[in-house]
């Protein structure tokens, strides 16, 4: 068994290490380039397709629970007409971080296949656990997804209400807290907050 495997690896290596007999160098380089463009472009296009709100709410788990709740909030409908879609807050915009998040999200496909939260009751039972994942993610990346739009440097504290300005001045600007520490439940309903720090 082991010997067979070693033989197979040897044959593979011999083919790889020798120059091609029938194919020209030009065909291999140009062909390799074209194949690379096709593969890379296809990969990114497919990944971007999974990074849209239409993709997220194609599943009823998202459409009937979190999307319905988002609709009532300021991140869906507001005076200026700028709105956030699911990936704006839940997927990092940076490519490397995005790939890492996408790999993590493969577990959500597993959950979809096996119906982990396919009823409202199951979703409510898991709401605290799911919310904690997101709070933890935003706490560890210093609320990166909030800051993609809400920049601390561009925030004019004098235009905020005194109470908001005071909280931002004493806790946000000095870095002792990050957005999600105070702004929980701004886009979806909160889980049962008994026992959560600060509630």
């Amino acid at each position: 068994m082991m010997r067979k495997l070693i033989d197979w690896v040897k044959i593979f290596w011999r083919t790889l290490s020798r120059p091609a007999v029938h194919l020209s160098l030009g065909f291999l380089t140009v062909g390799g380039f074209v194949a690379g463009v096709l593969f890379w472009g296809g990969f990114n296009t497919a990944m971007e397709a999974t990074n849209t709100e239409e993709f997220c709410i194609a599943c009823h788990e998202m459409r009937d629970n979190v999307y319905e709740e988002l609709k009532t909030t300021v991140h869906f409908s507001n005076a200026s007409g700028v709105r956030a879609t699911c990936p704006d807050c839940h997927v990092p915009h940076d490519w490397t971080d995005k790939i890492a998040r996408k790999m993590q999200a493969s577990k959500e496909v597993w959950g979809w296949v096996f119906g982990t939260i396919d009823t409202r009751e199951k979703f409510e039972a898991n709401r605290l656990r799911l919310a904690k994942h997101e709070w933890h993610r935003l706490q560890t990346n210093d609320s990166l997804e909030c800051r993609n739009c809400h920049s601390e440097d561009s925030m004019d504290l004098t235009q905020q209400s005194p109470r908001a300005a005071e909280a931002h001045r004493t806790q946000l600007i000095d870095g002792s807290k990050t957005c999600i520490d105070c702004h929980k439940g701004i886009a979806h309903e909160l889980p049962n907050m008994a026992g959560v720090e600060g509630w």
Partner: protein, 168 residues
């Protein structure tokens, strides 16, 4: 055959009744219009069937001054915006600043100690369930003009007018 005639009789009775009802309503509306000609309605003088222009929504004061209570038992009004604050069995956004243990960090006034009392006057560790839903009594401050005139007189004004010694 008998069933059919019974049905017809029923229908006739129903028709008679509804005509009577309609005419009664018409009479009472006319009477009301005559009696309350000067009465202020929220929908103005437009007839019921017509569309009216709804009044502008009042803006909530955010970061406003605290308003003086009109009488000692008045629940204080909320001097800030509370739009989107979750207030249900799962979470109480108000208490995340106004609960006893949160006031140090938030700088918000603590909810009155009476809110920690049960109906037998015993103090509980947390806000009593009967006082949990803040907006049952407390409302945000709005720059809204009252639709009807109000003749309320502050108790101190009443006392000083009567010659008694008011609190101040």
């Amino acid at each position: 055959m008998r069933a059919a005639s019974l049905c017809a009789a029923c229908l006739l009775a129903l028709a008679a009744f509804s005509t009577a009802a309609v005419s009664t309503v018409a009479v009472s509306t006319a009477a009301a219009q005559e009696a309350g000609a000067g009465l202020a309605h929220m929908r103005g003088a437009e007839p019921i069937g017509d569309r009216t222009e709804p009044p502008m929504m009042a803006r909530t004061e955010d970061g406003a001054e605290r308003r003086v209570r009109n009488y000692p038992e008045q629940p204080p009004t909320i001097p800030h915006e509370i739009e989107g604050y979750q207030l249900d069995l799962k979470a109480n956004k108000c208490l995340s600043c106004h609960a006893r243990r949160r006031t140090g960090e938030s700088g918000a006034p603590m909810v009155s100690v009476t809110h920690y009392m049960d109906r037998d006057g015993q103090f509980l560790a947390a806000v009593s369930p009967r006082r949990y839903f803040c907006t049952q009594c407390h409302v945000p401050q709005q720059d809204a003009r009252p639709p009807v005139e109000n003749t309320f007189v502050d108790v101190d004004d009443l006392l000083s007018a009567a010659g008694g010694d008011a609190d101040e």
